[in-house]
């Protein structure tokens, strides 16, 4: 079973620590979503995977072997900074890239035809890349990552700049490749997409993997959250509930209030209900399953500066 393993990557740019023990794996047939705020280290990780950047330590393995130049020819890569020859025809350019990945001339021509048609830029094969709209250039860029039937897909922000139709096509292609047994890793800021598409997600912050697992695994935290709807003024409710031990409250939509139980606390709901009933009729107390966006916000806003500093001094 081919697994893409990212094993304890460390990378520093001078005094700036870009990656600290970045470790995760992407299994065959799996779509892995790589999320994190700007500058968190996603692109650095991907560039190291593709050998475009050298890690200070750690390694990337595929099928148990270090991902070397020969193996990288079987990887499909879409760099964050889109790059194609602006004054070269779409078809010729893709054929060249397919050739560089080791395809024969005829196979390359067939694959280019297939993928440009599939991605909706078949009619533009004879045009220079610079003549295409940005969205279409993006499609060509994706074709460049797919044209050699790669065994691994590494895509940095593949969805940025795509229209909804292209997003659907792209999603379908990623799913199809994963179903064919290809490990797919992509980064994105469109968390709803990641949530919908990915089998597993890794959230990075300041160069470290902070949360890793399936969306469901990430959701099952010990910090339970509810939405409380009471027939009363929101400010009054907030004031009253803040006296409930082991609960943190915050304003929700409309007049609702968000309640979060402290880790390990028991019967928080009971205490909250009792307090709420004193204020008016309780319309609802609904448990909230955190979205990826909530998880992301939690992870990213968590303050752990000391840990990073310790790493730097180590």
């Amino acid at each position: 079973m081919s697994v893409l393993e990212i094993d304890h990557l460390n990378k520093a740019y001078g005094s700036l620590r870009a990656l600290t023990d970045m470790t995760f794996d992407v299994r065959a047939g799996e779509i892995f979503g790589f999320v994190g705020s700007n500058g968190a280290g996603k692109t650095t990780t991907m560039r190291i995977m593709l050998g475009v950047l050298a890690a200070d330590s750690g390694e990337v393995r595929w099928d148990g072997q270090v991902l070397d130049l020969q193996a990288r020819r079987r990887v499909g890569y879409m760099p964050e900074e889109r790059g194609l020859y602006p004054k070269m025809k779409v078809g010729a350019q893709l054929e060249l890239l397919a050739g560089l990945h080791g395809m024969s001339r005829d196979d390359a021509r067939d694959a280019v035809r297939t993928w440009t048609d599939r991605l909706g830029v078949g009619a533009r094969r004879g045009d220079d890349v610079e003549k295409l709209s940005l969205g279409n250039q993006q499609r060509v860029q994706l074709a460049a990552a797919l044209v050699h039937e790669p065994d691994v897909l590494v895509l940095d922000e593949p969805f940025s700049g795509l229209d909804p139709v292209a997003v659907d096509v792209m999603s379908a292609v990623l799913r199809e490749r994963a179903d064919a047994g290809v490990p797919v890793i992509f980064s994105s800021h469109q968390l709803d997409l990641v949530e919908r598409l990915c089998d597993r997600v890794g959230i990075v912050r300041a160069g470290r993997m902070q949360a890793l697992g399936t969306i469901d695994e990430l959701r099952s935290t010990d910090q339970e959250r509810w939405v409380l709807d009471v027939d009363a003024d929101q400010r009054t409710v907030l004031a009253r509930l803040s006296q409930v031990p082991a609960a943190t409250v915050s304003p929700g939509d409309g007049r609702t209030v968000m309640v979060q139980a402290h880790p390990g606390a028991t019967d928080v709901t009971g205490a909250v209900l009792r307090a709420a009933l004193e204020l008016g009729q309780v319309r609802g107390l609904t448990p909230v399953r955190p979205s990826l966006t909530d998880l992301f916000r939690d992870v990213v806003s968590a303050q752990e500066p000391t840990a990073t500093e310790q790493e730097v001094s180590r």
């Binding site: 593709l50 990887v75 900074e81 790059g83 060249l96 050739g99 024969s104």
Partner: protein
């Protein structure tokens, strides 16, 4: 079948250059200039020959024996003597006839005793004409006398023909200024300079284009930086060689077609071979430098900052060769520059064309240049590898070397 990445990159470069209109136009202009230059030169040469016009003479039968001597003497004076046998009346007519009427005219009518002929002219006798007749008469008299004395007139003629002073100089004869060799030498290094500069600029622009368009990251995820640089240099080199062949070939073809090569006894093949050899060596040197240096910058506007010093490096050997080496092709300066890799490509072909450079010096110069190439490959490869993925500001050469 997998194709080698270096060849794929090289093929792309050739295809791109061939499809670039501006490159083809400038090449076309150069060809036109070269061919026009050769044709003009040949026209001027032909006109110089026309300055030695025919000298038509009318001869009475009594002086027919002078015909051969007149022609021989005419040759000495740079005239083509044509003779027509005429009666005295015809001779007078021919002297006064108007050439516009299409009748044959003569410059003089010669009659009487061949030992002291009468020369009838229209108005005044041209000094050269008289000299020719005088020489012919002297020759005739000598021949007659020698024959009368029982000697061999032909042996006399042969002896006279070889009675020439043999001139030799203390310095080597090849050191004398030879305008033809000089022209060829200048033409060769000019084609060389043009080709090296245009190829170097194309390489620099190509490297920076890949950086600015960021396609380099995609390429380097599949192939090594050294393969990308090598493919680029190879491809542009093939195109550059094509350019040299077209320019050098145009010059050679023009020289052969207009007869210039024959007239000046130029070794067209040898000159072309030297040009190609030194283009290849010079190209390898300078292309590596252009490629490595260009990787340091990230924007097209900054190319000048790295290519200008290199252009300067190219112009120095060109001008030194043009002004110093052509003057003293076997002097100390020229000999020293033969062993400096960056000047050798300019100096050696000129020394070959003008001077008397020993084969071993050519070989040694080529060897020094060849040995420099691996050093530059290492150096340029190192700079390129470290700088090519660096974006943003300009990377310092020292930083790229230290890495």
């Amino acid at each position: 079948m997998t194709r080698h990445p270096v060849l794929l990159v090289a093929a792309r470069e050739v295809r791109t250059r061939v499809a670039t209109r501006s490159t083809l136009i400038s090449l076309g202009i150069m060809v036109v200039v070269i061919v026009a230059g050769a044709v003009l030169l040949s026209v001027f040469q032909d006109r110089d020959q026309d300055d030695a016009p025919d000298l038509p003479l009318g001869l009475d039968t009594s002086v027919a024996v002078l015909t051969e001597h007149l022609q021989a003497a005419g040759e000495t004076y740079g005239r083509t003597v044509t003779t027509t046998a005429l009666t005295p009346d015809q001779g007078t007519d021919a002297l006064t006839a108007d050439p516009q009427d299409g009748t044959d005219t003569v410059a003089a009518y010669i009659s009487g005793d061949p030992r002291a002929p009468e020369v009838l002219v229209a108005e005044t006798a041209d000094e050269v004409l008289l000299e020719i007749v005088r020489a012919a008469v002297v020759q005739h008299v000598l021949t007659q006398e020698v024959a009368d004395l029982g000697g061999d007139p032909d042996a006399l003629a042969t002896a006279l023909a070889t009675a020439e002073p043999q001139v030799s100089s203390v310095t080597d004869a090849d050191d004398e200024f030879d305008p033809v060799a000089y022209t060829i030498a200048v033409l060769m290094i000019s084609v060389l300079l043009f080709s090296l500069i245009s190829a170097g600029s194309v390489i620099a622009m190509g490297v920076v284009e890949e950086k600015t368009s960021r396609v380099v990251e995609l390429l380097l995820s599949t192939i090594k930086p050294s393969q990308l640089l090598a493919g680029k240099i190879l491809g542009i080199g093939v195109f550059g060689l094509l350019q040299v062949l077209v320019l050098g070939g145009a010059a050679a073809a023009a020289a052969l077609a207009t007869g210039l090569a024959d007239r000046f006894q130029v070794d067209v093949g040898g000159a072309l071979a030297a040009l190609i050899l030194w283009f290849l060596l010079g190209y390898a040197l300078y292309a590596l430098l252009f490629g490595g240096f260009a990787a340091l910058v990230s924007r097209q506007e900054e190319i000048g900052a790295v290519t200008t010093p290199l252009m300067f490096v190219l112009f120095v050997p060109y001008y030194v060769t043009l002004f110093v080496v052509t003057g003293a092709p076997d002097g100390t300066v020229a000999r020293v520059l033969t062993y400096i890799p960056f000047t050798a490509p300019f100096v050696v072909p000129v020394r070959e064309a003008i001077g008397t450079v020993p084969v071993w010096e050519v070989a040694a110069g080529a060897a020094v240049t060849l040995l420099t190439i691996p050093v530059l490959v290492w150096l340029a490869g190192r700079v390129y590898r470290r700088a090519v993925l660096h974006t943003g500001g300009r990377m310092k050469l020292g930083t790229a070397l230290k890495g």
